[in-house]
Amino acid sequence: MTRSRAAHALLVVALAAAPFIVPQFWITLGNYIGLYSIVTLGLVLLTGVAGQTSFGQAAFVGLGAYTTAYLTTRFGASPWLALAVGMAITLAVALMLGFITLRMKGHYLPLATIAWGMSLYFLFGNLDFLGGHTGMTGIPALNLFGFELRDERRYFYLIWAIALAALWATDNLLDSRPGRAIRALRGSLAMAEAFGVNGARLKIIVFIYAALLACVSGWLYAHLQRFVNPTPFYINQGIEYLFMAVVGGAGNVWGAVIGATVITLLKEMLQDLLPSVLGRSGNFEIVVFGILMIALLQFAREGIGPWLARILPARRPQPVPEAPPLATRERVEMNGPLLDVKRARKQFDGLVAVSDLSFEIRPREILGLIGPNGAGKSTTFALISGALSLSSGEVMFRGEPIGNLEPYEIARRGVGRTFQHVKLIAQMSVLDNVALGAYLRGEAGVIRAALRLDRAEEARTRAAAAHAIACTGLAAHMFDAAGSLPLGKQRIAEIARALAADPVLLLLDEPAAGLRYREKQELAQLLRSLKQQGMTILLVEHDMDFVMGITDRLVVMDFGEKLAEGDPAEIQRNPVVLEAYLGGV
């Protein structure tokens, strides 16, 4: 048994024993901490990991609470049925809201969450059948296997069973194929989409996941209080959940529990402590609470969780075991070009960045695309990889037009790529980063991952990633955080990630930029060996020495047009090219 499992087991035992040992009021607080943890857990995933700030979770809690309150008091429905209905309603509402608001980027999203939070609150308060602002009384206690959960101590078990299950599922989710993609949503969306992640869809799924957790918490809340009114679902409670997530440490599932616990207990302590220091109750709790929070975030701006994690000994990574290989792409020998760029054109308003460019890449060659600054190389790269759409012309890959496909559609067809500015997820290990490259080779979804039914596929993915890492000579850094590697190694890691996708064509965007001499040599070595193994590579590069040494053919661009094409020796002698390079300096 590993140490972390032992810690988890200890936690479960402690929670199970708590109702027999601790004073009554601890159970009261424990119940609320559990309820808040469930909601905050959703926020950890949505905001902390996926980077979608939401102030509106309290409204989803309200949906869960009001659905069960209404169904059980007006129709005498079973609370369990009401839970199902509540989740269905939440799903529908979240789907609709997510569909509209998750298209918003930047700061539009948080405001939209405030907007629906406010709307739902005033809707609850003004619908007479929901008891208006005054609220609904007489919600029945829950029954579970014939036990009436009226006593708080019994309810404690239900809340924490659900909270632990949610923690377990969320932790599983983060450590999986969809989990890696979710972690990429924040700040690395373009990269993730290049490896086949459908970002918009995944955002909605995460949003729904968080909303459902909030709904379950609301359902539990309603049957614990046996009363609902709109105040607990107002926007300030939504802010409080976000508060808990950030204070606990929004990057980790335990941050949710830590945040909920710290905030709840701190408020109780202040309520006990302050009146004896400063006199009467009421005035200063919120003031001191605010000041303490400011101080805390100055002291540990990532929240308490990561701060604790630094103190505690780190978990030793397990070596990646061998596993049956993932299915590989069928490699048909082709007679014609692998990639054929036909009169590709890209126009930004008045500016023509790429003007009717044509060239081809033949199987098993390294083609260099070079040119001075502003020649249109990067735009061409973006046109091929799908990051930009063509103004006119066409790009054919293995005889199929790909010119106006989404990046992930192009990736699916066997085109792997790296980025000019390295796009690794800094806190994630090299192994996980590379495994993200194999996204399209797996199919485990959120539910399978959360329930840990994806382990066979996951083992194979990890083995494939480990293999790609070994191929590129990064095995020693497999478990290091990607952000901790020097730039040269990060570029190599990007190539490993592209290889994990099992591509036919590899697009490299200035892979030598910023590398030192030794690193360039290693990179050249790697590219040669890849070619030997049958890979076709398009190299967009700036560094002439590097390109001349390893390419089979070169395409030279200037002012968006093709200037010359030929093998390195020809190009070096070409007067037009010399003019463009030397004359331009």
């Binding site: 009554q24 009021f25 609220g135 708080e152 009363f227 109780e268 302590m269 402590l273 009146p275 109750s281």
Partner: protein, 383 residues
């Protein structure tokens, strides 16, 4: 929490089963809304609690006051804390209706008597095994709404417009005034809502004025009640303006200024006790309370909400000696005895005369309301 830690420090022993030594003191838990939207109601209540004596019938009384920030979840946490940690014999609170409703289940489950300081009759009616444990000191909204309707009818009002808070207070009043108005044959021609801290109520007021009712009732508490009133006066509304007893504090007079002249409202008699005839028994009780309150918090600082807290104390003070005859404080038997004694209350309070019974856990009647009028920044008894 501190107490929690102490509890642990003094031993898990006690919680595992050894009975606590019976505490001879009487513990009274109070939860009220001293912060948040209802702070203007909760603060005078808290001020009043601070004035109260610490012995009753020779027994020491510990008042434990907690703030619930006008939040239902916090109110429930507070009552659970008071019962579990402080072992209170009776709970006073909370200030507002939703909080009080949310607390009922906890009070009933733990068999602890509770005296609410909120307005809605729903807190104590209908009488059932839960509300058995719950009492309340403020006049029911209905009693006050009836007073307004009767006054309107007597003054020839045929149509009524309503504007009130978009919250539980405003909703409660809207429901009651509709019922009372119907009984009195008055037609409600416009219903508008606004938020306590709204910067402007122009839209609502324009609509009210367009409907041109004979009178307008503003269902608000504290200074926010002045916002629609000033707007109505500014828009040259000529009909009568009624307020609810929620506005009866000196700050309202300050903010509404001369625009408040002629405003009518129903009120517990305590506010204008000086103007009551000496024969009214409420006068003496009110005088005692208000003299003490104003001595501490300044002349003219009286509000009716403080009176609700004081009345809760009066009820308890009367019930404690009865209950002490039957059991020791801190025991289940004492709680039950206290409840029984409260149910038999016949007490003269600051707001009226409480005559309780098994079906009547408020016990106030028409003596608990008078109509008053604002006249040059003073509350004056209306004829």
């Amino acid at each position: 929490m501190l107490r929690c830690i102490k509890a642990i420090a003094f031993g898990l022993v006690a919680s595992v089963g050894l009975p606590n030594a019976a505490n001879a003191d009487i513990n009274i838990g109070v939860t009220l809304s001293a912060t948040g939207p209802a702070a203007s109601l909760g603060i005078p209540e808290r001020n009043t609690i601070e004035l109260l004596p610490t012995t009753v019938a020779g027994q020491k009384i510990n008042w434990i006051v907690l703030d619930d920030a006008s939040d239902t979840t916090k109110a429930v946490t507070n009552i659970r804390k008071l019962i579990a940690e402080d072992k209170v014999d009776v709970v006073v609170g909370s200030t507002i209706t939703p909080n009080s409703l949310a607390m009922i289940d906890v009070a009933a489950d733990s068999e602890t008597p509770m005296i609410s300081m909120a307005a809605s009759a729903r807190i104590v009616d209908p009488s059932n095994p839960k509300t058995r444990w719950v009492f309340k000191t403020p006049q029911n909204d209905a009693l006050m709404a009836d007073a307004i309707a009767v006054h309107m009818k007597a003054n020839g009002v045929k149509t009524l417009g309503y504007i009130g808070f978009n919250d539980a207070y405003g909703d409660g009043w809207l429901a009651e005034i509709k019922r009372s108005a119907q009984t009195a044959g008055i037609k409600v021609v416009a219903e508008e809502k606004y938020n306590r801290s709204d910067a402007s109520v122009t839209g609502q007021v324009l609509k009210l004025v367009a409907a041109n009712p004979d009178a307008i009732l503003i269902g608000a508490a504290g200074t926010p009640g002045a916002t629609p009133q000033k707007e109505l006066v500014g828009r040259n509304y000529k009909g009568k303006i009624y307020q609810t007893h929620g506005v009866a504090n000196p700050d309202f007079l300050r903010v509404v200024g001369k625009d408040g002249n002629g405003t009518l409202l129903p009120i517990g008699p305590m506010l204008v006790f000086e103007q009551l005839p000496d024969s009214n028994p409420i006068k003496k009780v009110s005088a005692e309370y208000i003299t003490a309150y104003e001595a501490k918090y300044g002349k003219g600082s009286r509000t009716t909400f403080g009176g609700h807290a004081y009345d809760a104390y009066l009820l308890i003070a009367q019930a404690v000696p009865e209950a002490l005859k039957k059991a020791k404080p801190g025991t289940k038997e004492f709680h039950a005895a206290l409840r029984d004694a409260l149910e038999k209350s016949n007490v003269i309070g600051t707001h009226g005369v409480f005559v309780m019974g098994p079906q009547e856990h408020n016990g106030l009647d028409n003596r608990a309301r008078v109509m008053i009028k604002i006249d040059n920044g003073q509350w004056v008894l209306a004829k």
